[in-house]
């Protein structure tokens, strides 16, 4: 294995050819670590047609962008991405590697760690560097968010997966210059050990949960599928997306991809309106990044009120129609 280098490599993700919002937050986290390490901040991109994303990385403040650009990486097959990243690591030997806590990052980071024989810090809220040891530390939720753990890497390279929306992206500077370095990695289809036979996508008209500015959400307290029609109508008025707790999904009231929570979608809206949701930690893990949470629940002791900015202790059946009527008249 090559000698450990200095500095931070941020593994970037692209959406339609552009740097993803999660990567922007990740770069902000990387900037802070870079200062502590007195090393350089670089970005690593694997995929196809990476020109725009590479330029955006430079504008966001990285000194150099390493890319593995190959048509085989078009649909980001995980096995091939892993090969590409392992090659990228060998060429760059950073001290710290950061991934975003996205479905892609959550799969790739452990596999890269496994391949490199190191551990990784998962699901981090914040990361830092210990001054003398140069070790990566992080604060992360455990036991469904009921406790926090401070953890530390004990092997190199040091890898962390971050809830990067916790970091405010730095303003891009179009004048920033830097180098784009293509890393040659031999890829061929036989390295992919899984084959995608068919892709099935749900139709979801309207706003996507992950991008919505407002989310209306319902849980077990709604008692059945019908009240979700009201939440959909409300969402239509507010330009919002509709979410649900795992209880509502498991009861079969709404489709699985509506689920907000640890095992569902993580949302970060300005406003999260929770009707009949008690706020189990598994659910809060998916929505605690909302700027303002409003909870409507009959139980004043429900845990959701611990994280809510505004609360109404009442039956949603009384609150929702009046709320919708008032919104209609705004």
């Amino acid at each position: 294995m090559a000698a450990a280098g200095r500095g931070v490599l941020v593994v970037g993700e692209t959406v339609n050819g552009h740097l993803s919002p999660t990567t922007a937050g990740l770069l902000a986290a990387g900037q802070a670590l870079k200062q502590d390490l007195e090393g350089e901040l670089t970005a690593g991109l694997v995929g196809h047609d990476l020109t725009a994303a590479a330029a955006e990385s430079l504008q966001a403040g990285v000194e150099r962008v390493y890319i593995v650009d190959d048509v085989l990486l078009q649909d980001l097959p995980v096995d091939l991405c892993l090969h590409a990243l392992a090659g990228l690591y060998q060429a760059t030997t950073p001290e710290v590697i950061l991934f975003a806590r996205s479905p892609w990052g959550r799969e790739l980071a452990p596999r890269l760690a496994g391949r490199l024989g190191v551990g990784l810090l998962q699901d981090c809220l914040e990361v830092g560097i210990e001054p003398d040891s140069r070790r990566l530390t992080a604060l992360r939720p455990v036991y469904g968010g009921n406790f926090l753990a401070r953890v530390r890497c004990a092997a190199s390279p040091q890898i962390a997966v971050l809830r990067s929306q916790a970091y405010e992206p730095l303003a891009p500077d179009p004048d920033r210059q830097g180098e784009v370095v293509a890393v040659p990695v031999d890829l061929d289809v036989s390295q992919s050990r899984v084959r995608v036979v068919r892709r099935v996508r749900h139709e979801h008209p309207g706003v996507s949960l992950t991008e919505a500015r407002v989310v209306t959400s319902g849980g077990r307290g709604l008692g059945g599928p019908e009240p979700f029609r009201d939440l959909e109508e409300l969402a239509g008025m507010l330009g919002a997306a509709v979410g649900a707790s795992r209880a509502a999904v498991d009861a079969g009231w709404v489709p699985g991809h509506w689920q907000v929570g640890l095992t569902g979608v993580t949302v970060t809206p300005e406003l999260y309106l929770a009707f009949g949701i008690s706020g189990a930690s598994q659910h809060m893990a998916g929505c605690s990044g909302a700027k303002v949470i409003v909870a409507i629940n009959t139980d004043a002791e429900a845990p959701i009120f611990r994280e809510a900015r505004y609360g109404v202790v009442a039956d949603w059946q009384a609150v929702l129609p009046a709320f919708m009527e008032a919104v209609r008249n705004l």
């Binding site: 799969e107 004990a154 699985g256 609360g311």
Partner: protein, 266 residues
């Protein structure tokens, strides 16, 4: 020849336990609960057992359940046998208590899987409800050098392939890999079955195979952590909830809309 399916299962603190019953241990490195409140088999691992049993029902299969831990509650960890699994292997050693590091857990599981022998399919719950890392199965696949398909909502075997409906954010992919392979299973697969009387009685008679550290063929550095837990803390609740005072629910709803509008949120 019948399929051999190995399922990993972890004994965890019951995630539905009231928060008041959980506390941080004196060494600040682990969460402890009163001995009167029993642990559970990680819920996602029970779903993985269910996936294995469905293969047993449809194709015929031997299902071996594997766990690693410091101390097991046998009544709890035998639940997969009561659901219909054929064998239970417990790697139990004081050195395996509160493993801080997925890397170490993975080395132990990999050694145990090799000792169990040939397998066709390795099924794991998507993550454990204590630390929610979702990384041991991925590390294990790397260690055993087998294909891995995470987040299954359906698992089937056709000839020498596993065919999986793999959850992706806005739907699912139908994905296949050549056996042997590792698949992680999500709750979308469906609820794990309840033990029936026949399996319950059979489980009572079955004895788990127990291996200690010395029984596993391991390199010396395997138990050295790649990740350390420095301390556990209680999160600070910074948000102060403002309750809407109104004469009834309808009035509160109206007032809430006005407040959110004023705050520029709607």
């Amino acid at each position: 020849m019948a399929l051999h399916v190995v399922v990993t299962a972890k004994q965890v603190i019951d995630p539905d336990m009231p928060l008041s019953a959980m506390r941080i241990a004196d060494d600040a490195r682990q969460v402890v609960t009163p001995a009167t409140l029993p642990p559970v088999v990680n819920g996602f691992d029970e779903v993985a057992v269910e996936a294995a049993l469905r293969l047993k029902d449809s194709h015929g299969a031997k299902v071996t359940v594997l766990s690693v831990g410091g101390q097991f509650n046998l009544d709890i960890i035998k639940k997969p046998l009561a659901m219909g699994a054929d064998a239970l292997v417990l790697c139990q050693d004081a050195a395996f208590a509160n493993l801080p590091d997925s890397f170490v857990t993975t080395q132990l599981l990999a050694a145990a899987v090799r000792k169990i022998g040939a397998f066709d399919l390795l099924l794991c719950g998507r993550q454990a409800s204590d630390w929610d890392n979702a990384q041991v199965p991925l590390l294990l696949a790397e260690r055993l050098d087998v294909p891995v398909i995470p987040l299954a909502q359906k698992v089937d075997v056709e000839q020498d392939r596993v065919v999986v409906e793999q959850l992706v954010p806005d739907g699912y992919d139908v994905v296949e890999a050549t056996l042997p392979a590792l698949v992680t299973v999500s709750n979308e697969l469906g609820a794990p079955r309840y033990p029936n009387m026949r399996n319950l009685m059979a489980a009572k008679r079955k004895r788990p195979v127990i291996w200690t550290l010395g029984d596993l063929d391991l390199d010396a550095d395997v138990l050295s952590s790649r990740v350390e837990v420095l301390e556990l803390l209680l999160p600070q609740r910074t948000r102060e909830c403002e309750f809407i005072a109104a004469e009834d629910g309808a009035a509160a709803g109206e007032k809430l809309a006005a407040m959110l509008h004023e705050a520029g949120l709607i």
